[in-house]
């Protein structure tokens, strides 16, 4: 290696630099030559033993790949992981250029640039209806894994949104989870009086803004009318003239009652976890995935997920619960055989349990022998008794409705917009179609 030491004299300094650069360059170029050729030969003709994969399941896909490689000796999985934003950008560029990997993360339903309908419609995904697990999917999952009656998405897990309570903080405050809307408001007031607000709210990250609303809409809108989505699709209903107005109103009532900590718009997702994990709030309204994160931030605490009540008859309460992102196979996969092997592994009890355990969710198929974490007992029970609705955006015709909702909610919280205006805008975007 080169010694990084410049002698003091001017002459030496001026002469050393080009020499240094030249040396570095030649070293680098040499390395590049060998590196480049190596990549070419491995990548190009890797043949039957190499699978390419792009995933958004950071933190869990790594273990699944390891298990898959172990179960299939000699097989090598080349994978990239990235956050949702970058992934969507990457996968769309690669699909339209014919360079996409064999297997890729695909979101359920519609309304997202990497969702099943969006990718299946132009023919980029391979039909997976002939795979053994396809017929076993429960209807709720099937509806978002299929496009025009064919299955394209190997959805392995499902998640729910509810109130996640910090059990130690609840005990200290002497409070129990509320079961009706009236109780909820009383709970918020009591919690606030004790100096620990009921729920942490990280609305600075705009995707968080929707969670409380989803939890309220599930009971308020779908508790009355399970066919609301069909009516929206048929143009017989609108957001602005439905119980969405009531749900949105309740969200703001919660804010006014002091259910959330101060400055939700200045608080990000990470900071909201910190509040709930350390008992500065009694809980947080989030998806079940947050529990693992809360436990990591405070290993001594225990957490439990409960439905967020939205009216005064607990038997009508519904939880938003839905399929998480799954995997699709590239219609032009270089190694189709191995790609199918991989999605079948993901849908096998071994792969599925590994995934959902790492992600803190629940498996999409029944009978995998998965032992759900006790914190998710209520969610399991609601799913088992069909008291759930999919995440509301999964059946919307385009991504714009959700984006409008997310920034609109931030605008309402900062006094720049009104509920009426927001729902009208969402109706307009909905009508614009796909």
């Amino acid at each position: 290696m080169i010694t990084w030491r410049f002698p003091e004299g001017d002459i030496m300094k001026t002469r050393k630099l080009p020499v240094l650069i030249a040396t570095l360059t030649s070293v680098a170029v040499l390395a590049a030559c060998s590196g480049g050729t190596k990549a070419g030969s491995e990548g190009g003709s890797g043949g039957s033993k190499t699978l390419t994969l792009a995933s958004v399941d950071q933190g869990s896909i790594e273990d699944v790949v390891k298990a898959f490689e172990k179960a299939n000796p000699g097989v090598k999985v080349r994978y990239t992981t990235s956050g949702a934003d970058q992934y969507q950008q990457q996968i769309r560029t690669q699909l339209s250029s014919g360079t996409a990997p064999d297997v890729m993360s695909v979101w359920p339903g519609n309304g997202n640039p990497g969702a099943t309908y969006v990718l299946a419609k132009p023919g980029y995904l391979r039909d997976l209806s002939d795979q053994p697990w396809a017929a076993k999917m429960p209807d709720a999952i099937k509806s978002v894994a299929q496009y025009e009656g064919k299955t394209y998405n190997a959805i392995f897990g499902q998640n729910g949104i509810g109130a996640v309570y910090n059990e130690q903080a609840m005990k200290k405050a002497g409070l129990t989870p509320p079961e009706t809307w009236t109780d909820l408001l009383a709970f918020c007031k009591a919690a606030k009086a004790k100096g620990t607000p009921a729920f942490a709210l990280g609305n600075q990250d705009n995707w968080v803004t929707q969670l409380v609303l989803y939890a309220l809409v599930a009971t308020t809108v779908y508790g009355q009318d399970r066919d609301f989505d069909q009516k929206m699709q048929a143009g017989q209903a609108t957001f602005a003239k439905s119980l969405w107005t009531t749900a949105l109103d309740k969200y703001l009532t919660m804010e006014k009652t002091g259910c959330f900590q101060k400055n939700p718009l200045g608080t990000n997702y990470e900071a909201s976890q910190q509040l709930a994990a350390t008992g500065q709030t009694l809980g947080i309204v989030q998806g079940n995935w947050v529990i693992a994160l809360l436990e990591a931030k405070n290993p001594k605490a225990t957490f439990i997920l409960k439905a967020l009540p939205a009216n005064d008859s607990p038997s009508e309460t519904i939880i938003p619960a839905a399929a998480g992102a799954g995997y699709g196979v590239n219609a032009k996969a270089k190694n189709e055989e191995l790609a199918l092997k991989f999605v079948n592994f993901v849908m096998s009890p071994e792969g599925m349990n590994l995934f959902v355990e790492k992600q803190g969710g629940l498996p999409s198929l029944p009978d995998t022998g998965f032992k759900a974490d006790p914190s998710l007992a209520e969610l399991s029970e609601f799913i088992g008794s069909d008291r759930t609705v999919p995440f509301l955006d999964q059946l919307w015709p385009n991504g714009k409705v959700q984006q409008t909702m997310l920034s609109g909610l931030q605008e309402i919280f900062s006094g720049q917009s009104t509920p009426k205006k927001l729902l009208d805008e969402m109706d307009a975007d909905y009508k614009a179609g796909s």
């Binding site: 990084w4 410049f6 950071q58 970058q86």
Partner: protein, 273 residues
């Protein structure tokens, strides 16, 4: 160079104070990188039990060794190519006043203006057709072209302000233009070269999306891609990420530090003397 006076000391203290304010977030970064994930005390308070575990863990888990090699390779190759072609191009563009020169210069400036969103997809498809995807060469080619406008702009700006006497003298003495460039112009441009080297290196070194896209499907990755591997949508271990990040910025800062030392005391003044 002026002597060290009491006023210099006052200035020194002021500048150190300013650097502390500017460097505060960097302190937080290093502070967090040195603490175990279980330590959830305020990010500002100094870590009570500093550990290098995060660094070793980041190095191993992220396979940062290989990524570092790729990053050094791509950055070194691209920066050397960019500096070579841009400084050479800047010479006639700064010195010749003919119409073609002005037009070419403006064309380069257009490159500063164009948002990359326009070129991104067609370029990716060209690289695909050339079979370069999955190799570091695609990245070297990409950055070598992408950074040209910025670098030409930097060189031309500074070169125009330098007197032509020395070049003219060299040419009168029978130097070819290439020799004049190599032995007269380039040495005068050393402060600019160091600046351009460092600023280009930072741009190439930190780019995330291009390597993610261009190297996907191959066994290779660069530092930012490897580091992003830690950052999940829901799972985040920031202490680990910060350790990886500190590892990744050190080489660039080290290069800048060493190069800066090499040009203090007014090199250009020496040349003219």
């Amino acid at each position: 160079m002026s002597r060290y006076r009491p006023r210099t000391l006052a200035l020194e203290l002021t500048m150190i104070a300013v650097a502390l304010v500017v460097g505060f977030p960097v302190y937080v970064l290093v502070n967090l990188a040195l603490r175990p994930a279980s330590d959830t005390s305020s990010p500002i308070s100094p870590t009570t039990s500093p550990t290098f575990d995060n660094f070793t863990q980041a190095w191993q888990q992220g396979s940062l060794g290989g990524a570092l090699g790729n990053s050094v390779l791509v950055t070194a190759c691209s920066v050397v190519i960019v500096l070579a072609v841009s400084s050479l191009a800047a010479y006639p563009l700064a010195r010749v006043t003919a119409r073609w020169s002005r037009g070419t210069y403006l064309t380069f400036l257009l490159g500063l203006v164009l948002p990359f969103q326009l070129a991104s997809l067609p370029l990716y498809q060209t690289m695909r057709d050339m079979g370069l995807l999955g190799t570091p060469w695609a990245l070297v080619l990409f950055y070598s072209g992408l950074q040209v406008p910025f670098t030409v702009f930097l060189y031309v700006g500074f070169l125009r302000a330098l007197p032509r006497d020395f070049e003219d003298a060299a040419l009168i003495d029978g130097c070819t233009p290439l020799q004049g460039f190599r032995y007269v112009v380039l040495p005068m441009l050393k402060p600019v070269t160091v600046t351009a080297l460092v600023l280009n290196a930072v741009a190439v070194w930190n780019d995330f999306f291009t390597p993610l896209l261009y190297l996907s499907g191959s066994a290779q990755q660069t530092m930012p891609v490897a580091i992003a591997g830690f950052v999940g949508q829901y799972v985040t271990d920031w202490n680990l990420i910060f350790a990886a990040l500190v590892i990744s910025i050190l080489p660039v800062l080290l290069v800048y530090f060493l190069l800066q030392r090499s040009i203090i005391n007014g090199f250009a003044g020496g040349l003219r003397g």
